[in-house]
């Protein structure tokens, strides 16, 4: 017998493949995000030069953070080229927000390291301004 609520595995744990200082910093970044936005659906920290997932947190079992790492890296690299476009000299990308039907997807580059931090929240509990501001504070 399939009981729907037993099929939905709640994960709610920060996982990390990295080691040393990078692991500590990436995990600390996610912990601080979770403290401000405890209901967030998914958050990842990716090292852009190597394309490696440093730390990840997910609330939903079906959203696998490892599967989106490649597309996150590709997007971040594409966005880094935006400043090369004619007419955009001197502009630097700060963040990218995707407004979905009832979720918000926010990607931001961290200030010191070449890392990207991805945040996925539900619009029912977190608005666009709040999600961007929390990510801005913790990534700078």
């Amino acid at each position: 017998m399939r009981i729907p609520f037993l099929q939905k595995v709640a994960v709610r744990k920060i996982t990390s493949d990295a080691s040393g200082a990078a692991r500590e910093q990436a995990t600390a970044l996610l912990e601080s995000l979770l403290q401000e936005l405890p209901e967030l659906l998914l958050a990842t920290v990716v090292d852009l030069p190597s394309g490696r997932l440093l730390a990840a947190y997910t609330k939903q079992a079906q959203s696998d953070p490892y599967k989106i790492t490649a597309s996150t890296v590709a997007t971040a690299r594409q966005l880094a080229r935006i400043a090369n476009q004619p007419g955009l000299a001197g502009q630097e990308l700060q963040d990218i927000v995707l407004v979905l039907e009832n979720q918000l997807y926010v990607l931001r580059l961290t200030a010191n390291q070449p890392w990207s931090c991805l945040l996925l929240v539900n619009v029912h509990d977190t608005n666009l301004a709040l999600a961007r501001e929390v990510l801005r504070q913790h990534c700078s």
Binding site: L42, Q62, S63, D64, K67, I68, S71, T72, A74, T75, Q78, L79, R81, I82, Q85, P86, G87, L88, G90, Q91, E92, L93, Q94, D95, I96, V97, L98, V99, L100, E101, N102, Q103, Y105, L120, L128, R132
Partner: protein
């Protein structure tokens, strides 16, 4: 019967509402080429920008399907040092409006409202 507006007219109407915008274009998602465009900054190459941004849209569509979120993209917002770039897909996803504004004279809420009103009737 729903009323639809041609890309050229959409660009003119957005320009009327936001006269100080940096650039605006109606772009075909499949090819990345603008159907209608206007730029207030001479050095801003809207054809190149449209092509770059189409790749961003396609990459994001892939990311959303990889995450199995069962959600559709409503809009995409890029924050630059002092510009905001917004992309809003038409209801069937075949076209998108690309709008670039200076964040000093147009805030995000205003830019999103203007785009929302125009994408719903885009033919």
């Amino acid at each position: 019967m729903s009323v639809t507006v041609a890309p050229n007219q959409t660009v003119q109407e957005i320009l009327k509402e936001l006269p100080s915008l940096v650039a605006v274009a109606v772009v075909e998602t499949e090819t990345g080429m603008p159907l209608a465009a206007h730029s207030n900054v001479a050095s801003f190459d809207i054809e190149t920008a449209a092509a770059y941004n189409t790749e961003v849209v396609k990459q994001k569509l892939k990311a959303i399907s990889a995450l199995k979120l069962n959600q559709t993209i409503q809009d995409i917002l890029l924050t630059l040092t002092d510009q905001l770039h917004l992309l809003k897909l038409s209801p069937n996803g075949s076209k998108f409006i690309y709008l670039a504004v200076n964040s000093r004279d147009t805030n995000l809420a205003v830019a999103r409202q203007v785009l929302k009103a125009h994408t719903d009737v885009l033919s």
